[in-house]
Symmetry: C2
Subunit: 160 residues, 2 copies
């Protein structure tokens, strides 16, 4: 059964190729903006009160599906795709938690965008601390990473 | 531009209708399971070390798009769809943070499922505290809710 979806806007960033792209929004994401198609602007009502949003988008430059991938984090060891954020996943849907700085009409300015310039937007959800902020979290192999060192020792592109 | 996606599994829950369904995973979610299609099982490698996953799924019983909706939380006031988790959103993609109890083969047992029985699964991502656990979060209108009272005063279905 196939499901047909369609972009509802575009994410604009400073990243024009995967070689130099940010690896994660809160590690090396940069300022950018989401332009929601004008016909959806009414759906933004009430969003100004939120400090963060969850953007869903299409990894539009990634056609391949690989069930085991080598994210740069964690010394390039192979990981199951569902134990990583890497883009070679079935359906090629990405999510990023973005800091919402301000909204002008149908444009959302965000400070930590980590996707390619021109990425098709699929949805915006509010980050809700009562739902999304958890306690007692174990994060598998990510917990073994030296996050202070990660910014310097990684050269792999698309390292989600 | 349409994008074609396809389910990669099915989410099974105790909720067979929207009238009695849970409103949010960490409020009234119940035990259930995700059955990943067998051909994707290799993608689960390394997921056992995670306490939580982010499930992406299709609101398959919801065909309507409404840009302003009335989630039960917050006294049924109208909210922009992108300032809520309500299902009448463009593309009808939902996300839930689920507690991962154990994995048997291609079956993931979770303790707080909040979706309809038979919901098509689109993706599984690890919940990573280094990416998803934020500080200084403002959650807009959700911050005004009396969460202790919310379990008893809400009768609206699909109240995401």
């Amino acid at each position: 059964m196939n499901i047909s979806i369609a972009p509802i806007g575009t994410i604009y960033s400073v990243f024009n190729d995967t070689e130099t792209m940010a690896r994660q929004s809160n590690i090396d994401g940069k300022e950018g903006r989401i332009e929601l198609y004008a016909e959806y602007t009414a759906g933004l009502e009430g969003l100004r009160g939120f400090s963060h949003i969850i953007a869903l988008y299409h990894f539009h430059k990634q056609a391949e599906v690989r069930l085991r991938a080598r994210p740069c984090f964690g010394k390039n060891s192979a990981r199951g795709i569902f134990a990583s954020r890497y883009p070679t996943r079935p359906n090629h849907i990405g999510i990023s938690v973005l800091s919402l700085e301000r909204i002008d009409g149908n444009t959302l300015h965000c400070s930590n965008i980590d996707v390619l310039n021109g990425t098709p937007l699929l949805d915006i959800k509010p980050y809700v601390k009562h739902f999304d902020l958890l306690e007692d979290v174990r994060s598998g192999w990510y917990d073994d990473i030296d996050w202070d060192a990660v910014k310097s020792d990684c050269a792999h592109p698309e390292a989600k």
